[in-house]
Amino acid sequence: MTSDPKLERIAKGNALALCATGTWTASFAPVLERMVADAEKLAGGSQNIFIDVSEVAKLDTFGAWLIERLRRSLTHGAVEAQIAGLSANYSSLVDEVRRVRATPVVDAGTITITGMLEQIGRAVAGVAGTVAGLIDMLGAVLAAGGRVLIHPRSFRLTSTVHHMEQVCWRAVPIIVLITFLIGCIIAQQGIFHFRRFGADIFVVDMLGVLVLREIGVLLVAIMVAGRSGSAYTAELGSMKMREEIDALRTMGFDPIEVLVLPRMLALVLALPILAFLGAMAALYGGGLVAWLYGGVDPEAFLLRLRDAISIDHFIVGIVKAPVMAAVIGIVACVEGLAVQGSAESLGQHTTASVVKGIFFVIVMDGVFAIFFASIGM
């Protein structure tokens, strides 16, 4: 049923008549476009211009538009090109296409140096906006927390417990596994290098201090930022996209109180627990390697550990956990609520949530290091 489309000039002289035949459909679009472009040059000074389409076997929007394009470009001055021989089937399609206005010019947006400088400027100025947004959210969360303290009945226990399960209980296996492995690696590396000085036993000191003060909490915080921070952003972001947050607001609920506070609280409670479990797993892993690889038997390991570390080391580590959790939670919720209507925006904000979350966790760790050094802990 399909046959190659053709466009032929059938009359000469004063009148220009073009005869279209064959299948004028999308599949033949490249051929059709070329033929139409060639025919457009024929306009000349003809007084009568006809495009005969009675022989067209099949016509779709693409074909109809190309005939219309040809008709428009052949029309010059007072001479209007006519379409002749239009079958009843296709006349309404051609009429439909005739109503189309010419394509508006699309601004492609060229890249200029000023444009790039402007972008850099905006990005730098955006940093202040980010910090302000975080402080804003911190204030909103504290205010919501205050309201809940005054009216304890408005506290969402079920939601908090649900999020505790998600970010704490379900995170335990992976957190314990990874910190265990990290403990093993630290111990192995320590023994391998300390052995040259005959100082194998000091690996216990290194492991204890490093794990309890730094690695335990920092590693767990980074993992939680990746695991739960991203989940918070994606949840809140998709709720924002589907207008669920607007729906909450119109029902008289405060989204911060309903959505953000339970999530924040769950995270602030979860991170110290996870950090503690992580530290224990890392010590266990380190001890195992020290025994099997370094020949330090468990009794000697524990004795040495008791001498090497004090409760201070543990406190220094665990005190940081809730603060880091709050930072992760605030960043995640700010990013989630900043999501716009598109899937792309959701992706960008989830990425930003994890990147900023980890960045602020490390910054906070540095601030804590300076603080504890100053107070001599």
């Binding site: 049923m1 999308a26 693409f62 439909e96 206005r101 394509t103 899937a343």
Partner: protein, 256 residues
């Protein structure tokens, strides 16, 4: 291709679809003839959308066979399937526009994939499609999140029609449109059916659409087609749900 004209464009035989232990479609048979507008009705939750999605291939079936354009979708190879997919367009209930693309890019997306067409022609055809579905050219550069519900429906229809398909599936096309808009939409579907020789499979609850746009109506109930025929057949039917549907308050209002 000669055989295709006599054969139904969609032939559904003994389709069974099950979610867990609930059987949604139970040995359903349906034919859609070439060039007709089939209105598909049934109570909410009867499985109208499920049938549509099963035919398109989004929901797996337990038993039965589906032929579209004479191609059995289960035994077809990838290129046959792509050929079928190129010839149908789907309007989803929520529009399902790509949220990170503009309206223009949404409509051009299938063209880019399936056709070798110049950018100029694609832009012009996009404008033509927008005009056809009753939207202004300015809409082209907007993102889906900046459109109203009715506009999303129209853009989604424009996208479904972007390849000039032979068959379109419309899932509740007029829901969420104002009555005038819905009327225009019916008119539009009619026009397109006439001009493009389109076959339309339309899930709808809009009685106006059933009366003005549809050639034939099929009714789904208990996982089967309980009735199929013209609007007159439906009105004459003694089935209790049909009686309620076509002789209820709203139906009388539509009939005047």
């Amino acid at each position: 291709m000669a055989g295709e004209i006599q054969n139904p464009i969609i032939r559904v035989r003994d389709i069974t679809v099950q979610f867990g232990s609930t059987r949604v479609l139970d040995g359903l048979n349906l034919d859609v003839k070439r060039g007709e507008i089939l209105g598909f009705v049934g109570p909410s939750g009867a499985g109208k959308s499920v049938l549509t999605r099963t035919i398109i291939g989004l929901v797996p079936k337990v038993a039965g066979s589906i032929e579209v354009f004479g191609v059995d979708l289960d035994s077809s190879n990838t290129s046959q399937r792509r050929n079928v997919e190129r010839r149908w367009g789907v309007l989803f209930q929520q529009g399902a526009l790509f949220s990170s693309l503009t309206v223009r890019q949404n409509i051009q997306f299938p063209m880019r994939e399936y056709l070798r067409v110049s950018q100029r022609l694609m832009d012009e055809i996009t404008m033509a499609k927008l005009t056809m579905v009753g939207l202004k050219p300015e809409v082209a550069e907007r993102f889906p999140s900046e459109l109203s519900g009715g506009m999303i429906k129209r853009v989604a229809l424009a996208r479904a029609l972007s390849l000039d398909p032979d068959l379109v599936f419309l899932d509740e096309p007029t829901s969420g449109l104002d009555p005038i808009g819905a009327g225009d939409f019916d008119e539009l579907v009619r026009t397109l059916q006439r001009t493009l020789g389109l076959t339309v499979f339309m899930v709808t609850h809009d009685l106006d659409s059933l009366y003005t746009a549809c050639d034939r109506i099929a009714v789904l109930g208990n996982g089967k087609i309980i009735a199929a025929g013209s609007i007159a057949d439906m009105q004459a039917s003694q089935h209790p749900w049909l009686r309620q549907y076509f002789h209820g308050k709203r139906a009388r209002a539509v009939m005047g």
